[in-house]
């Protein structure tokens, strides 16, 4: 990794470490580079719903946050998620969630991003959800 790449990932780790909710869920950022971000969450009992799968809310959290970090990589750190949509395609059963987000288009104030969420087991990764949303420079939208 170049210095700049290391710095961007270091920035991502710092932001994530300052989010109490991300700490509560055990999220880690494993990649942050111009136009893409990868977040991971080890799957643990408290993250599940009544049937033993990862709760959809954990999946939407990691998608939302990975979309946001993809936005950070092109717009800087003062961003908010304006909106996103997610399709759940398969129950998440496995060892950890891996959310891979990319920037589809970046304008002056907004980036449209996509994020695929996979569940990883010893056999590999399987897609469990896919999402698309808008990341906006602070002042134009809301939450994160």
């Amino acid at each position: 990794m170049t210095d700049m790449a290391m710095n961007m990932l270091a920035l991502g780790k710092q932001i994530l470490a300052s989010q109490p909710f991300s700490l509560l869920l055990g999220a880690r950022i494993t990649e942050l580079a111009a136009g893409r971000a990868v977040l991971e969450i080890p799957i643990d009992e408290p993250l599940k719903q009544q049937h033993g799968f990862v709760h959809g809310g954990v999946i939407s959290y990691v998608a939302d946050n990975a979309l946001g970090f993809a936005g950070v990589s092109v717009l800087g750190e003062s961003i908010v998620t304006s909106e996103f949509k997610i399709n759940y395609v398969r129950p998440a059963i496995g060892d950890r969630l891996v959310a891979r987000a990319t920037v589809v288009h970046c304008g002056r104030r907004q980036a449209v991003c996509r994020c695929d969420v996979f569940v990883a087991t010893e056999e590999g990764e399987r897609l469990c959800a896919t999402s698309q949303g808008t990341i906006t420079l602070q002042g134009g939208g809301a939450s994160a």
Copy 2:
């Protein structure tokens, strides 16, 4: 409340209590009736992001889950969230989140629902996000 209404809310409380992730977040269900559901979450430090607002992932969780309970009220308890979209409209700062979901249309296998998420303070409730999604009878879609 009629017996049937009490029973439906009791069912909702039982389902919520069986979701480890909902317990982790401190979610409560305060209403469950044919075509609508209300969930609440007291706002606590671990639910926040780096600027002191409620993390967007908490808001998307409560929207997703309230949409699901609205679906339960018309389709029964074997449901999954197939997909939803959410727009964040205001940072959530306050005492608790209140997610009010309603069924817009219910077919044989799917219900299209909406959920507004408010942040409540002593002065009242303010909208912080609005969402729309599809709840599907298990076997036709995914997570929850």
Copy 3:
């Protein structure tokens, strides 16, 4: 109607009349007031798909455009639709489409709006689709 209300509807008619695609589809604007807009389209053969229902593309057009006019009512006429999502809930068979849009939240640069699309027959109106989206002041997003 007050003069101001008449002026706003007149502005809406003028904008709609300047959109060749809206003329091609026969769209009419029947209401435009602060925070809401109503568009209508008489259902004619060329607007259908292979089963005799109104094509989904006509329904998404009228939802998109009604969302945009709701945005115009609060942000002025220099707006674009940044994004929207739509759920189709029933095949559209009838005399005309009626799209009723409202503003859910308006910030400085963006309005989050909803639009229900009904199909009208002699017996009344039935919901055929529901949508939610973001209307943005020009310079922050895209199309329309």
Copy 4:
């Protein structure tokens, strides 16, 4: 092309030719294979809005329809679009729209698909919108 590939594209052309609305807009299908579909529309005056760009409704139509054809390629021809979301990223100015859809995940009754819409000029293609949606076997959802 193999016979099967030719047959699938021929089926796509036949379906498109039976949709009066697609004929009105001049849509053509140029590719239909397992898991993907490409639709194109020459850009003509009647498809524009007041600023001379292609109307968003045309773009949402072609996205919706390309998503549907991607669904046809894996689920067969009795499908409906249940829902989709679209982000517009750039005004569409050019010679023709090219909508490229792919299947992200296919279950027994539903396929989750994505579609990027490009505007083509002599210099090449530029992204103008991106969309994601659910295609459902008829009987489980709605329009198209």
